[in-house]
Symmetry: C2
Amino acid sequence: MLYDALIKNISSSISLSAEELDIFLSMLECRTIARGAYLLEKGTICRHDHYISRGLVKVCYLDDAGRENIIKFAPEDWWVVDLDSFLNSKPAFYFIQAIEETEVFQLSRAAHDRLHSLIPQFHIFSNMRWQNGFIALQHRVMQGLSLPAEERYQQFLQKYPGLDQRISQKLIASYLGITPVFLSMLRRKWAHLS
Amino acid sequence: MLYDALIKNISSSISLSAEELDIFLSMLECRTIARGAYLLEKGTICRHDHYISRGLVKVCYLDDAGRENIIKFAPEDWWVVDLDSFLNSKPAFYFIQAIEETEVFQLSRAAHDRLHSLIPQFHIFSNMRWQNGFIALQHRVMQGLSLPAEERYQQFLQKYPGLDQRISQKLIASYLGITPVFLSMLRRKWAHLS
DNA sequence: CGTCTATTTGAATGTACTCAAAAGCGGTGG
DNA sequence: CCACCGCTTTTGAGTACATTCAAATAGACG
């Protein structure tokens, strides 16, 4: 069924009754966005939380020099939002763009709030989500500080298995915080060694 | 009073009744640790969540080369824990050490769980804490990827006002992900420019 | 087939590191 | 009070990692 993966996703942290599940599902809007289209544009307010049911998006920001930096990929079964913008109704610092044609279930801020007050279990779900998100992100800070690009690439492969086959090197380089030119040089070196 | 700052800290996200506050405070243990002593040692399980009421600690890990890297400072009024270790009873990857003589209020995992089931508002508090933590950390990932050391230093000053006066350059360098030698060179350059 | 973008390659440059040594500074004991 | 010890900071030289700019090549898409 359409919602199978999402239900499984939610159920890994909380157990909802059939009615509660219905309430939750009824709040979702389904949307399909084309390759290259934006789920969130920089400077606008992030009005929805998104669950990716099919496809792939990237979360990016532009640095002072105008270069695009990818802070996260979200393939199937990932949740994605600009948290600061969503919670605090601030203009988004990040933008979210589809790398492939993507299908999302989205939850508005109003629905999100209603959900938490109607079904307190969702507080637990949110807790899990952001605590785990924090742990994963801390791990990434650590890598960024101490590992050379070569090992960050390995970590990328671990975190997003198979994703290297789905996206361009340019995007991988942007995620790793190096230039595509330098990534290309590394790959040549690796090819030579094997 | 002893708990004033802590109560204010909690009250910024939730409103507790006097009884609830009593329950919370009664669960805390107060502890003083000497300069250089450990609040958490690498490899042991992080059994407490800590609120720093006085002093200053650092959260670090050792990289493959055995170098110490600081991922966060926690001065007065900050909370600090190795979340992954605390939640999942894993051996801690990080260690937490006092830079100055430090006084903490600590909450055991059992107390933490009891608190959340007795007073559901604490779910909201945790949510706030980790969502805000996530936002701040994401900001740090971003810096690590795209900003040069010089601008990371500026961000450090903003995040921890006055802390540069309290700690050695060695520690700042470790937080910024550069060597003390290189930081010293930067400072010479800055002094020359002004 | 032609156009647009991604990737590769090369050369020159810049940023940050290592190693080594000297200088500064704070605390301790005689 | 001074001398010494250990640790931090500074300085210098040489090196490694990653960047920029530019140009050539390869791929993808209409």
